[in-house]
Structures are given as C-alpha cells and as structure tokens.
C-alpha cells in the first residue's frame, strides 16, 4: 500500500468522523432530526450486531444458528437483568464457544 493510498483512506475516514463535529459547518438540526438522533445509539448498534447473529454463510443469507441464537439470547437476558457489560460478554461468549465446540 502506497503512502498516497494510506493518506487518502485516512482522509475519508477522518472526514466521516469529524465532519459534523465542526461548528463552522453551517448545519442547524431541526426539531425532527434532533428527535430522531435520540434513537441513533440503539439503532446503529443493533444494525451492527443483528447481521452477526442472523446472517450466515458466504454469500450471507438469513439463517438461524444455535450458537449465535442461544448466546445472543443469554446476552440480552443478562444485560437486561444485571446491566453489567463485562459479565454479559464473558458468560455469553463462554456459552457461544461451548456450543460451537459441541
């Protein structure tokens, strides 16, 4: 990879992260957009984890696989009851690996 390629890619990624943090960017968020942003966290993060749990194979297709399904369910239950991230991740990963080995 050339230095030019690396710098170009860096620019695109940094721009996507920084663009809307720049106050000089003339952008006023209206009431509706502001209201939608309340849901950005759960929506984006769910859009990331959803396909990991429900899409399998190459090319990826919707499918139910026991390790992902069971471990994701356990993670959701633990997160709901305990609100503890580390505990949730550790136990659900343990179940996940156990089911994969088995």
């Amino acid at each position: 990879m050339s230095l030019f390629e690396l710098l170009t890619l860096t620019l695109v990624i940094f721009a996507s992260r920084y663009l809307f943090l720049e106050p000089a960017l003339p952008l006023r968020l209206n009431r509706h957009l502001r209201g939608m942003l309340r849901y950005a966290g759960p929506a984006v993060l769910t859009a990331i984890w959803g396909p990991v749990v429900f899409i399998h194979g190459e090319p990826g297709r919707f499918a139910l696989a026991l390790p992902e399904l069971a471990a994701a369910t356990l993670a959701a239950l633990l997160a709901w009851r305990t609100h503890r991230v580390l505990l949730t991740v550790t136990l659900s990963m343990a179940l996940y690996f156990l089911l994969r080995l088995w």
Partner: protein, 231 residues
C-alpha cells in the same frame, strides 16, 4: 445535575477507561487479526502497524488489506471505505451539540477517536452527562489496546492460527447487545432497535450495500414516529 463539582480530570479519564474496558476485551482478537492479516497479505510490519495507528478503523483495515491483495484500484477501495465508514456521520451528528461546542484542540482528538465502541460508551444509559475527559479516557484506552493488539498480530504474523474461524464477530455482537438492551427503557426505543434489526438483517440477506446506515436511519425514524404517535 450540576450541583456537585466535577471530580479531577484524571478521575474522569479513568472512569472512561473503565467504561470501555469490556469493549477493549472484545476487540483484542480483531486487533490481532488486523496485524497478522496485514503481514500475511504482504504488507511490511510498519505498514501493518501504520494502518492501525493512522486509519484506526478495524473493518476498513481488513477490507482494504483484502482488496489490496486482490489488486483492487484506489477508487474501489475508497468506495468500499465510504460505505463502511458512513455510519460515523451519524455519531458525529449525535455528538454535534456537545463535542461541537468544544475548542478545536478537543474536537480533533475526540473526532479521530470516534469509533463504534466510543460512541457506544457515550450513549450508555449510565454514562455521565457529556464529559470530555470521560470520552477522551475511553477513546485513548481503546486506541492503545487496538494498536497493542495489532502490534502483537504483526509480530506473530502468519504463525497466528486461523483466528477468523473462531467466531470473533460474535464477541463484538455480545458487547453491543450488552450495551443496547439496558438502554431500551421505553416503547419508542424498542421500536427503534427492532426496526433497525429487521432492516439490517433483510438488507444483508438481499446483499444491499450500505444496509447498515439504511437500517440505522430506519430505526431512528421508526423510534421518532412512535414517540410522536404512540409514546
């Protein structure tokens, strides 16, 4: 909420570092992979490390290394990168009110460090009301862990066994589930998450590019409409 004076900046840094620790754990195998994959794809160790130091974007790094190996053009890499990285625009929008009000010397580093994981800890239900030191602490620790994991991956190179097969993706899924679920405290938030889930899975199943951002927008729209119509 502004009764007590804020604790020392060091304490707030540390609080952010602690908050992101579980997410660091889940990303370590990915860092190892980013390092070893770069070296086994023919990049020099320095180039492999530079990707993590400068790009600091796991999914983009892996895709770009793979594309480079296949001899893809820069234009193709940029297009793929734009699709993957577009979600960061939403994070920037969400944090605009808070980070945008800070001086440039804060905005630049916080913007550079703005990953999925950093956004996740900043939107946790029990995260402190926006605190720049907390965000900086979390971002720096995540950056450090990502780069240390990459370094180990670069050094181990091809001797690292096929960690792709271990189901590393699920580690990240588990952390995001752990963060999202406690946040679902009203009907509109549930609708937002479930809508995003359905659209994301459907888009992936149909092979629609940019499905992630599409799903996120659908979830945000559905949540907001629910809040307005049937809170």
């Amino acid at each position: 909420m502004n009764a007590a004076p804020l604790p020392h900046p060091g304490r707030r840094l540390a609080r952010g570092a602690v908050a992101i620790a579980p997410l660091c754990l889940a990303v370590v195998p990915w860092g190892l992979l980013a390092g070893s994959y770069a070296v086994s794809a023919g990049l020099s160790p320095l180039e492999g490390q530079a990707l993590s130091l400068i790009l600091f974007a796991g999914a983009v790094q892996l895709v770009v290394i793979g594309m480079g190996q296949d001899g893809a053009s820069l234009a193709a890499m940029l297009l793929a990168t734009a699709f993957i990285t577009a979600r960061h625009l939403l994070y920037g929008l969400s944090l605009r009110d808070r980070v945008g009000a800070l001086p440039l010397r804060w905005r630049l580093p916080l913007g550079f460090l703005l990953t999925d994981e950093l956004f996740a800890v900043c939107t946790r239900h029990d995260a402190p009301a926006f605190d720049r030191w907390y965000m900086l602490g979390a971002g720096l620790v995540f950056y450090l862990v990502w780069n240390l994991a990459t370094l180990v991956g670069v050094v181990m190179g091809e001797t690292l066994p096929g960690i792709e097969a271990l189901g590393l993706e699920f580690a990240v899924a588990a952390t995001f589930i752990a963060i999202v679920v406690p946040n679902l405290i009203d009907r509109a938030l549930w609708v937002a998450a479930l809508s995003a889930l359905v659209v994301a899975v459907l888009a992936a199943h149909l092979g629609i590019p940019g499905g992630l951002v599409l799903a996120a927008l659908a979830g945000m729209g559905a949540g907001y409409v629910t809040e307005q119509v049937a809170p």
